[in-house]
Symmetry: C2
Amino acid sequence: MAAGRGVTSARVAAELRSRIERGELLPEDRLPSERELSESLHTTRVTSREALKQLEAEGLIYRSNRRGWFVTSQRINYNPSRAAFFMDYVADQGLVPFSRQLLKKRIVADDRLASMLEVSVKAPLVELQRLRGANGRPAYIETIYLPEGRLPGIYECDLERSVSAVMLGDYDQQYAVVELDITVGALSAGQAALLDAPPGYTCLCVRRVVRNAAGEVVEYDLEHWRHDSLNIQVRLDNS
Amino acid sequence: MAAGRGVTSARVAAELRSRIERGELLPEDRLPSERELSESLHTTRVTSREALKQLEAEGLIYRSNRRGWFVTSQRINYNPSRAAFFMDYVADQGLVPFSRQLLKKRIVADDRLASMLEVSVKAPLVELQRLRGANGRPAYIETIYLPEGRLPGIYECDLERSVSAVMLGDYDQQYAVVELDITVGALSAGQAALLDAPPGYTCLCVRRVVRNAAGEVVEYDLEHWRHDSLNIQVRLDNS
DNA sequence: TTAAATATCTGGTATATACCAGAAAAAGAT
DNA sequence: ATCTTTTTCTGGTATATACCAGATATTTAA
């Protein structure tokens, strides 16, 4: 270890943390390169990286491809009960949202999807995939499955913007019940590439099953969020 | 890199993952030591550790202090709306729950707590802290704040087992509204030690604000969960 | 038989170094 | 000015090695 007592990587992390908290480094600022850091703090790149990964886990910084390390900014507050639409509630938080459709196709339910959507195997489904984020930074990948049997003609609708809007407007389907399932996981290589994250990056997996007033499943979502971009807020009313 | 193409650490991770998925390594089994692994898979400890950390992030394995790496077992399903009590719902999942009180004392609200609990600064509070887990493995640390003004005599109650039970029974306080706030974070050194995790270990932070029928805050919780031990399940009823 | 001392095994941290691949900047050609 | 090529800078991965500290197993002493 170099100058200073205790664990070197913790010392480096503390130094950077204090620069961020003091406002010396502002959101979206680039940190010194790993080589510069290592030299100025009298340690090696391996140890500096240990410290950077620590701050990354804390959600204070992120890395972009091979461009460098940056200070994170404000997280997206997300309410999965979804009274509001993504583009709206993100804008309301003072951020600039974007949404890009990656995929839209008809498929048939396999065993897993059939059981999640409570349809028979081989039932027709619409699969949607989109990448969403704010302020130019990707935040999550969403895969949506819609049962075509319960939403006839849904494939022809414009689902680019908001599925919820179409559901409410054209199908008059109220979101009566939303079942949430939230777990911490890791991004696959493909997901990571889309989210500008290293493979295996820690993510929050949110599974949503939406039922209409009749108790039928009308939507099944799989969301993979960058852990540093999300804050989930839910309000449960037991009245 | 050694034998095989591509990224070595990914190759090691894939090998171990397959052993786990094939059932060659069962839950709670110890993995070969890092030195053994490195030798048998023709790489170095640094690279093996990279792979192990990857599987740790995926929630497939965990490390216990300096005893080794182990295969994780079944996660705890947690419903923060909390109709059920920890000791009950964990037992219902076929696990053996435990709960250890770490702290119980009277404090006065500082600025942050006052605003969270909607009481005046210096209002009397009861602070509780407990460590909970299942099958001998710690899963989370919970810090509870109770406003003594709204729950007179609460300090004298037996809160070891369940705060909810006391609330419902002795105070007739229904949980009318629960506000949840869920974020991914990192454990402090102290928390990590209690949860048998390395410092900075990825955790799920769950903040709960509980209101009674009158809309008053009667409980504020701060939970820090090991990311590998938790699966949150919430049901939202928009009726 | 029990308790204390010791050796060994485990992961945790650190140094020094090397090469690769993608991104960005600089230099050159049109 | 604009496009193309080259160089440089960045993080990503990997090797080899060393020593530390806690947990465990073994040995030794009472």
